[in-house]
Symmetry: C2
Amino acid sequence: MSKVKAYGAQASDANLEALDIERRDITANDVKIEITYCGVCHSDIHQVRNDWKNSNYPVVPGHEIIGKVTEVGENVKNFKQGDLVGVGCMVDSCQECDSCKDDLEQFCEKGATLTYNSKDKHLGGHTFGGYSEQVIVDKDFVLKVPENIDARGAAPLLCAGITTWSPLRHWNVKKGDKVGVIGLGGLGHMGVKFAHALGAHVVMITTSPSKADDAKELGADEVLVSKDEDAMKKQAGTFDFLLNTVPVGHDVNPYVALLKRDATMVLVGAIEPLDPVHGGGLIGGRKSIAGSVIGGIKETQEMLDFCGEHNIVSDIEMIDMQNINEAFERVVKSDVKYRFVIDMKSLKN
Amino acid sequence: MSKVKAYGAQASDANLEALDIERRDITANDVKIEITYCGVCHSDIHQVRNDWKNSNYPVVPGHEIIGKVTEVGENVKNFKQGDLVGVGCMVDSCQECDSCKDDLEQFCEKGATLTYNSKDKHLGGHTFGGYSEQVIVDKDFVLKVPENIDARGAAPLLCAGITTWSPLRHWNVKKGDKVGVIGLGGLGHMGVKFAHALGAHVVMITTSPSKADDAKELGADEVLVSKDEDAMKKQAGTFDFLLNTVPVGHDVNPYVALLKRDATMVLVGAIEPLDPVHGGGLIGGRKSIAGSVIGGIKETQEMLDFCGEHNIVSDIEMIDMQNINEAFERVVKSDVKYRFVIDMKSLKN
């Protein structure tokens, strides 16, 4: 295999050679970042394991990247050495299509370049993510991270955070709205924090009554156990918005029944077939089921700024790079509150 | 069985006794209507045959009613003897809930009183529909029918018409939008006419290439055969709005693929489970699947007024009451262009 030019690099600088990866040079529009922390997203595991049958090995995962700027290209005016920055799920897009012009690079009509395992349309090769010591990223895809929040907990904001923030904003969740967050994991716990901070009455909807105390600590006003049919019936037709973070196909009909007339349930996790949706459940109240994926760069910056103002970060468990395989196993079993973050110093061990 | 007080009456006045039905008296708020025409809706058949297991026999179907006012109660100011009027799917609602206050009586929180087979919450008994010589209806549920349009073709506007008009308006279909209408039957043919009249670029989406000429005559600019995978692929991601009139559960995923980012497909027919919806199809473009049912009274009047201005009626086939069973069979086989309307004079034969 010939060497591929890399945005990032897998594991330590020391083993680039073994992986047949060559770092690319910084261009005039690039920001070079020394990575301090990187969150562990469930999709990292899917990609590493080739669950989606599109992995380009070697895969260097990681798209919840926090780091310090070490160098900037000559065209870069808004970042300087030492800045605390973040990189999320995208590192490039066409910048010319309607979606890009609308600040919705995640829907780039030519396909956004993802932070890892994605073809680099401009420089060739494919991209490598944040489980690495360094990353070089176009300035337009680098985010400023507020200095006042815990940088470790900020890492998951770049994916879990924006994935839940974007639909709450797009569907205009506001003070006093009754918002249900379905599923309490990496996404769900951010959904609860954001909806609470936006002034909504937040109901954590879960299959597990044992999660009630945790949900309330995160900001939920109520917990609704979805297996309790009586409780579900009592809340039927009362929700202004539902954020559905369940990551697999499931029966959404009981949740549709919770929506008010004209209200929407947005899927952010289930990128697979749902159990049969009953058309009558939508028709009977002019209800909607929609989907949403991450968010644009402008919106991601707005989220980070909001997190700075409201002192919001993800609840995390820190790990060393050496424990990544164990962490993957625990993510698969949902055994983490609520996100693992890798301390990149450990790469030098 | 004791006599039930009836809004309408099944078949001719001559057989009310045999059916154990007694006409109720007109109240101060009522309009008494001599029915001239009544459309045949597929739901009439479901109700007559107790397909939904909720039929209250005797059932007098019919909710696409056109007639002349013969008498008005003392509080009725906006109708007078001789007026051409219509009655649709509802004859009463609570008038107090948020939905009623929003002119969306179809979503009345206490349940709208349907034109037939529905409990009358104010006067007792249950309601009887338009396959009848007369009907007595509260003034707030009587519509003015423009005198310049064909009254026979106007009958189906009261159900098929408003069912397609309401979502086109609610989702703000406008000049230049690319709108797909899925399914060419009673609902679909009205969807094509309305979308065309609203200035949209209308694509008839059908499984049957044989319907192309008819669709174009109705106002479609293009016909897309949904079984033609290449043609479907070519139009992927290009539709601003899809009106899905398919009356049964089906695979909606190929239609979701046709939607632009942020666009919506609205179900108006399928009040049953759909084939599994792929969550990724919604998530990948922030797309929505929604439902819609008939429309409020105010919106129904707006539709009728629009039909008057644009000279729009349903394409119909007239029948006598004596041929209703044959007509039912043909509706079930979709063998009608596009709606049967009963000439109520035939009741006196």
